[in-house]
């Protein structure tokens, strides 16, 4: 699954550690999400969507 996490983070000038702190996850989790090595759980995806004020499908796109 592709996502726009890195772009959204960069727009706000947040580091991976900044975003991790806001989402209450580790910095490694943000890195794994951004590099496509890990797809978030639904609760985390909702949390990310709420934080950026966008619907989930605007942040995460199915690669099919």
């Amino acid at each position: 699954m592709k996502n726009r996490l890195k772009v959204l983070r960069a727009e706000r000038d947040w580091s991976q550690a900044d975003l991790a702190q806001r989402l209450d996850v580790s910095r490694q989790t943000i890195n794994a999400l951004e590099t496509g090595k890990y797809d978030p759980s639904l609760p985390l995806a909702f949390k990310i969507a709420r934080l950026f004020g966008q619907p989930i499908e605007a942040i995460f796109q199915d690669e099919d």
Binding site: A17, S26, Q28, N31, A32, T35, P40
Partner: protein
């Protein structure tokens, strides 16, 4: 160009490695000299270990080293912050992160104690009396219970990526290692391979688990 300016160009990781080498080499040399002196004076007798015992002691040494380094880093929230947030990050780790990493180091050290105690007890106390063996076993059960509680606490405090990594490691380890165990047992039954002791199986299980956990962690992006 001076040595000082060269040193400043090194990355923090390379500087740390150099410092560790500079400290480790003389400490290792001195420890070796002390052991040779002890042996010459007759204070040290050769301990007899089977190859399986040597493997478990090697594993225990590795685990205790990683565990102690993790615990040591967790003592400095600034150093831990750089470790988990990247070298460029200046913020210190939170107290919760520091205690989490200290806990991780702690369970590794306890795992090392559990792996080292049986072969060491058998080699240090010859013959090993039933009373002493029972005392060692009681201690082992206690350490096992504390370590299990520690592992459960770490699971509860982990975020979802860490839990996924632990769950995948457990699933792959189970599938692979029980398959290998079956194949070895079948070959042993057919007299094609030598018999394994349960302690051998524990060693294989531990080595397999460590390797699988490293591969899963790497695949999941724990290594930048």
């Amino acid at each position: 160009m001076t040595a000082a300016s060269n040193a400043q160009k090194l990355s923090p990781r390379a500087r740390r490695a150099l410092i560790l080498m500079a400290v480790g080499a003389p400490v290792g040399f001195a420890a070796g000299r002390v052991l040779v002196w002890l042996k010459r004076q007759g204070y040290w007798r050769d301990l007899e270990f089977s190859s399986s015992d040597v493997v478990s002691l090697g594993l225990a040494t590795f685990l205790v080293a990683v565990g102690l380094v993790t615990m040591a880093v967790s003592l400095s929230r600034k150093a831990l912050g750089r470790r988990i947030n990247g070298e460029e990050e200046t913020r210190a780790a939170t107290p919760a992160q520091a205690s989490f990493y200290a806990g991780q180091g702690g369970v590794l050290v306890l795992a090392a104690v559990m792996l080292a105690a049986p072969p060491l007890a058998g080699a240090l106390f010859v013959p090993l009396s039933p009373l002493l063996a029972s005392a060692v076993m009681t201690g082992l059960i206690t350490v096992f219970l504390v370590q299990t509680a520690g592992n459960i606490t770490l699971w509860v405090r982990s975020d979802e990526l860490m839990r996924r990594t632990m769950a995948e490691t457990a699933a792959v380890s189970y599938g692979l290692l029980q398959g290998l165990l079956f194949l070895w047992a079948a070959a042993e039954k057919l007299s094609l391979l030598p018999p394994l002791t349960l302690w051998d199986a524990v060693n294989v299980n531990m080595i397999g688990y460590l390797l699988i956990s490293m591969i899963v962690a790497w695949r999941r992006g724990f290594v930048d």
